[in-house]
């Protein structure tokens, strides 16, 4: 069987199942006795086994098979959930992830699993007599449950009839009718059965539904829910008289039992739905979600192409707007305006299509925190809020590493050891909260820990030691400025290398990464109470609003997100402080940055000395700078393009964009200009 065409589906689905599995495994750890969770994990493992076996990945199938056995044993109370067991299960899970990754990278997914298999086998045998006795019981229970759940979907109306009937002395029966296999006119026989039934009572529900019965969409067997005053035997005899009816099974139907069953199901369903909300289309295995939202899988490349094409359109749109305003042609202007509106809507849709819930990144963190905290003998719970918050895929792809770094930092330096926490009068279990939310055009991700907080004096001491700041600055810095020193490059040194965080690179990589995404990191902390690392990210990286400015004949774009305001100042307002030109801007001393000098712009014309300067006030955290330009052109939505592989790390330029007239304008990275 040629399975290559299914490969990408296999990879996608396995990853999803593995994610579901780990989510539920973490939950299982918290509620070891919750059967519905085990059912979910079992189902995921089972599906994985089936898929990998079909695709011919034998190692994976083996491993999942063993895993399935363990969960099966848990399911039937042959095993109890224990921490050690969970460790092995997580290990297996990681191995499976590695296999899927290997397969995704073109490998065979073959790895040495004998160790894990042995461990699983030991687990499985742990508290049960032997594997042989296991299979029959499994089937028994299967049969039983399938029988119990025969008719399950009753609406309230039907329920109330059933309730009333038993009060009025009717009996409720569930009747299973088996037609003979050579029956040619199934619909006719069914009709006859119904005729008999309706003479004696009332049919409440049929399974399959009556429509299907009439159209013969069933295989020789159907069930009805029936209320009657007639005794069971009489009914049976009468029904059996109908020719080609092979067998009739009548059992009484208990509403109470049904309700119980239903409640149990409801619970699982609700859990599914909750999960669903969190994970959106994450787990196709949960029955509740399969019909709810209709989605199709689209190759990400196609979305990228769509985005590129749309970007082209935006550029042409800009050009059209320009031409229309130049020509001053009424109808043309109206048409262009309409087009602008429509393409604006289109832009929103395309952008939302590329949005992915941060769940994709967050989902691996609980596992990671669990592992780290066990390694470090700490007791840490992670709370995730707002995993459904959506971000552009390009941003999602990039924020994983910085978040890992910050979380590791929180585990390592933030949360204290249990003994220490006890001494401080805190609960032994530390909590790390990972929270994502939208605000305006930004997404915020906050990592809050209730750990030791940041020690101002220690940070200052180290910053001075490592030459990040000068001693004289120490006292003037505000608390928050001090905290942010730990993000400065050169702050972290090889001295603090531990397994978990700080491999000598320090948190400055976090800041660099986030800033390269057009975001910002800020820190707040209270000593002995904990710290908050807050990351602010733009919703999308590809289209942004900029202010176009002109310097001599060159045009530059400044991202609106970093602009506080623009102003025109008189030359005489410019002051000189410490060989630097500054202005007094609303009570703040703001340094002037002459873009003409920074960018070495060639002097084009000798225009007369102006008494005024146009400035753009930009911010970076709390700091500001005033960029001096020649003139403002206006605000515009532009498509961010990279300068390409050849031109990387150009000072103070974060990218380029193509203007309406086809010219390229460079986008200024204001962060590099604010010191």
């Amino acid at each position: 069987m040629d399975t290559t065409q299914y490969l990408s589906i296999f990879i996608d689905e396995s990853t999803e199942h593995l994610n579901t599995m780990s989510d539920y495994m973490l939950e299982l750890e918290k509620n070891p006795s919750d059967k519905s969770i085990i059912e979910e994990i079992f189902r995921a493992a089972h599906t994985l086994k089936g898929m990998s076996a079909t695709m011919g990945y034998n190692d994976m199938a083996d491993l999942t098979h063993k895993l399935e056995n363990v969960f099966d044993a848990i399911r039937y109370d042959k095993l109890n959930v224990q921490v050690d067991m969970m460790d092995v299960l997580f290990e297996v899970h990681e191995q499976l992830l590695a296999m899927v990754e290997d397969i995704a990278n073109g490998g065979t997914g073959e790895q040495d699993i004998s160790d894990l298999v042995t461990k699983l086998e030991q687990l499985e045998k742990g508290e049960q007599p032997g594997p042989i006795s296991e299979s029959p019981t499994k089937e028994d229970i299967h049969q039983e449950t399938s029988y119990e759940q025969a008719i399950t979907d009753l609406d309230e109306f039907e329920l109330s009839i059933l309730n009333e009937s038993s009060e009025r002395g009717f009996s409720n029966y569930e009747i299973t009718v088996q037609l003979s296999e050579d029956c040619l006119l199934k619909a006719a026989r069914t009709f006859m059965v119904f005729e008999v039934l309706e003479k004696h009572g009332e049919v409440i529900k049929a399974d399959p539904p009556v429509n299907d019965l009439e159209e013969e969409n069933f295989d020789f067997r159907f069930k009805v829910l029936f209320i009657t005053k007639h005794p069971e035997d009489e009914l049976k005899k009468k029904l059996k008289k109908i020719s080609e009816v092979n067998d009739v099974i009548i059992s009484s139907f208990s509403i109470n039992a049904y309700k119980k069953e239903k409640e149990k199901q409801l619970e699982t369903n609700q859990k599914d739905i909750k999960k669903k909300k969190k994970a959106k289309e994450k787990s196709p295995s949960s029955p509740a979600g399969r019909q709810v939202s209709k989605t199709i899988r689209v190759n990400i490349e196609r979305l990228d192409i769509l985005m590129n094409l749309f970007e082209e359109l935006v550029i042409d749109r800009g050009r059209l707007e320009q031409i229309a305003s130049e020509l001053n042609h009424q109808e043309l202007q109206e048409t262009v305006e309409r087009m602008t509106r429509v393409s604006g809507d289109l832009q929103n849709i395309i952008l939302t299509m590329r949005m992915v819930p941060v769940e994709q990144v967050f989902s691996r963190f609980p596992r990671m925190i669990r592992k780290l905290s066990r390694e470090m003998n700490k007791d840490i719970a992670i709370k995730i809020i707002g995993a459904e918050t959506e971000l552009d895929r390009t941003v999602i792809d990039e924020i994983g590493d910085p978040l890992v770094h910050l979380l590791r930092n929180a585990v390592d330096h933030g949360i204290e050891k249990p003994e220490e926490r006890r001494r401080k009068g805190k609960p032994e279990q530390g909590t790390i909260e990972l929270k994502a939310y939208h605000s305006g055009n930004h997404v915020f991700i906050e990592i809050t820990d209730d750990g030791a907080g940041i020690n101002r004096e220690k940070v200052l001491k180290k910053a001075i030691e490592n030459g990040v700041i000068h001693e004289s600055q120490a006292d003037t810095l505000k608390d928050q400025e001090v905290y942010e020193l730990i993000l400065a490059s050169g702050f972290s040194t090889a001295e603090v290398v531990s397994d978990v965080s700080g491999r000598g690179v320090g948190l400055d990589v976090v800041r660099t990464k986030i800033e390269s995404l057009g975001g910002r990191v800020s820190i707040d902390s209270e000593y002995d109470k904990g710290s908050v690392f807050s990351i602010q990210l733009p919703l999308t990286l590809s289209i942004m609003s900029v202010l176009l400015v002109e310097i001599e004949k060159e045009k530059y774009a400044i991202p609106l997100s970093s602009i506080i305001e623009t102003a025109i100042i008189e030359k005489k307002q410019i002051l000189s402080a410490h060989h630097k030109k500054v202005i007094d801007f609303r009570g703040n001393v703001v340094p002037l940055v002459f873009l003409k000098d920074i960018f070495d712009v060639p002097q084009q014309s000798n225009h007369e000395e102006d008494e005024y300067e146009s400035i753009v006030i930009v911010k970076k955290g709390e700091k500001m700078a005033a960029l001096v330009v020649d003139s403002f052109i206006g605000q515009q939505e532009v498509v961010l393009k990279s300068l390409g592989k050849y031109l990387q790390d150009v000072f103070a330029i974060s990218g380029a964009t193509i203007l309406g007239d086809g010219q390229v304008a460079l986008i200024i990275d204001t962060n590099a200009l604010v010191k």
Binding site: E554, I598, P602, F651, V664
Partner: protein
């Protein structure tokens, strides 16, 4: 690069001053007329800036400056050759480009020793075709060299 070397006999011929250079056709994405270039500040002097190449922002290198030749004003014959090597796409400004020829491997001789050694790393060989002297460029060298210089420039800027 070695694996396809025997197959790619077609090369594009372009002029820089009096000399004729060739690059393999498979590296060439197109030949463009000169259009407006946006200067990128803080880059090496031979990087003239970037152009909008059908929606893709493409860096442009002036080969005259790159090879240390005297620069001359651009004219009607000036062309931009778009080349891509190892996922890098750049444009070369040349004095003119108008010829595609077959260049058999046998015709290529390693660059004569007299030329010197490291300065001309970017010359892979020389071919003599019907009295024409064609210089075969090593594109990777033409492009990697800039890293060194750019790094130097950057460190100067920062220091």
């Amino acid at each position: 690069m070695e694996h396809t070397e025997s197959e790619d006999k077609k090369v594009i011929v372009f002029q820089l001053g009096e000399e004729e250079y060739v690059i393999p056709v498979r590296h060439v994405g197109g030949i463009e007329r000169l259009h407006s270039i946006t200067r990128v500040p803080g880059t090496a002097n031979y990087i003239k800036g970037v152009i909008n190449l059908r929606g893709v922002v493409t860096p442009i290198i002036d080969l005259r400056t790159r090879f240390g030749m005297e620069s001359k004003p651009y004219n009607e014959a000036t062309r931009i050759i778009i080349v891509h090597v190892n996922e890098i796409e750049v444009g070369f400004i040349v004095d003119g480009a108008n010829d595609v020829i077959d260049l058999p491997d046998e015709a290529i001789e390693p660059s004569p020793d007299v030329i010197g050694t490291e300065v001309y790393d970017y010359i892979r060989g020389v071919a003599n075709m019907n009295e024409r002297l064609l210089i075969l460029l090593d594109l990777e060298q033409v492009l990697t060299q800039q890293d060194v210089e750019q790094a130097q420039q950057l460190s100067q800027m920062e220091g």
